[in-house]
Symmetry: C2
């Protein structure tokens, strides 16, 4: 590949390499957890120098799409890896101890996208969707009630039994069973009063303050796939965030 000096709007070579690598990832040429070819091999394949491939991989690694391991190779990041299991879960014990959550799934059903969900998922209002609920418990105490929605055709044949049986996060499940990898998410947090439904499942009094976490999760190409609302008890727990 030659540097295209005459392109109307200049696009660096390494960005083009990024796009090519992403296309291979979308196409499934390399699967989550697997190694991609070495930098030298890729440089030869794309007819650029190692440094240019390196810069492309650097950026994909900083976006947590690839993972470098010195001496071993570059790997496709995966929600199934231990360190990435609950990568998007920011609600943790104040004490800092690592508690393993226990999931309870229920309420799988078909429905129609309301205005909010449709906008979030890029669907037409009224489009068919699937949804289910989940209670996440830490140390036997229910802490988070999630309501999870996605387009009806997104995860065909998904069952709660499978989810329940699957040891791991929901995103690890999507990835392993349906080959759909979530790469980033946007969240909006609010404080709300618990309604009767949430109160019952979290075993608290109605009206108690809850942290509401709305999330849109995206796969490759910034395609929104899943919308969820989590209602979180923040008693001994908090949502952690670093700003820089």
């Amino acid at each position: 590949m030659k540097k295209s000096a005459t392109t109307p709007s200049f696009r660096p070579l390494y960005e083009q390499i990024k796009i090519l690598l992403t296309q291979s990832l979308v196409a499934g040429e390399w699967k989550p957890g697997e190694a991609i070819p070495s930098e030298m091999d890729l440089a030869e394949r794309f007819r650029v120098s190692q440094g240019t491939v390196r810069k492309a991989i650097d950026e994909l690694a900083s976006e947590h799409i690839l993972m470098r391991r010195q001496g071993k190779g570059t790997f496709v990041a995966s929600h199934s890896e231990p360190s990435y299991q609950y990568r998007f879960l920011r609600v943790t014990p104040d004490s800092g101890e690592k508690l393993h959550p226990k999931n309870l799934f229920f309420g799988l059903e078909r429905g129609k996208a309301n205005a909010d969900t449709a906008r979030a998922l890029g669907l037409k209002p009224g489009s068919p969707v699937m949804q289910f609920k989940r209670v996440m418990s830490f140390a036997g105490r229910p802490m988070i009630l999630d309501d999870i929605v996605f387009a009806a055709g997104q995860f065909p044949g998904l069952t709660l039994a499978e989810l329940e049986e699957f040891a791991g996060s929901v995103y690890s499940f999507y990835e392993t069973v349906f080959g759909v990898r979530m790469i980033r998410a946007e969240e909006r947090l609010r404080a709300v009063a618990a309604d009767g439904f949430a109160a019952a499942h979290l075993k608290i009094a109605p009206g108690a303050p809850l942290l509401s976490v709305d999330r849109i999760a995206y796969t490759y190409g910034d395609k929104p796939v899943e919308w969820r609302r989590g209602l979180c008890l923040t008693d001994g727990f908090s949502y952690y965030n670093e700003l820089s």
Copy 2:
């Protein structure tokens, strides 16, 4: 500077350059908003190649400590620049419109650090601290009540009149008036019920759910400088966060 191949634990050259650059920043050799020397000049000064300086600056830029502007130079980031004015404020209108907040400061007083504050700021419990409060309003509606604490000796002579008169964020004020630049922060969010004090200042009913945002803000060298708790109304507003 030669590559130190015999150091017990290997430290790349560009990390050493990062440290040297940071030291110059701490020492005030280049002030917020000013340009630092060109990459070539720095390369000569540190006796390394331009590429090595470049990698060091790249990382400092990604940490928002420096700011690159192609064709112009590399600048020390500043909370006083328009795009950085409310860099750490994540609570924004759901609509996405940019509302300019209006600040009202009050309640400046001396006090003693309680256990939480002391731990956050790295002080001994009971150490002398200063604190003040602030109500932030958007479109004339009070939305956030902040309680802001720092070590008594940190900002000597700070007055509310100055703060009130100063057009800009609190961090811009610290930077401009005291030369203390905040470079990163950690936040912990919870949902709480409004107490009487908060209810009165936010003009809501006691017991209403509020988003509580605890923040520790750090300056160079990961030194904690300010602790604050914000109580936020999330009616038409939300705390936005991107996960990747």
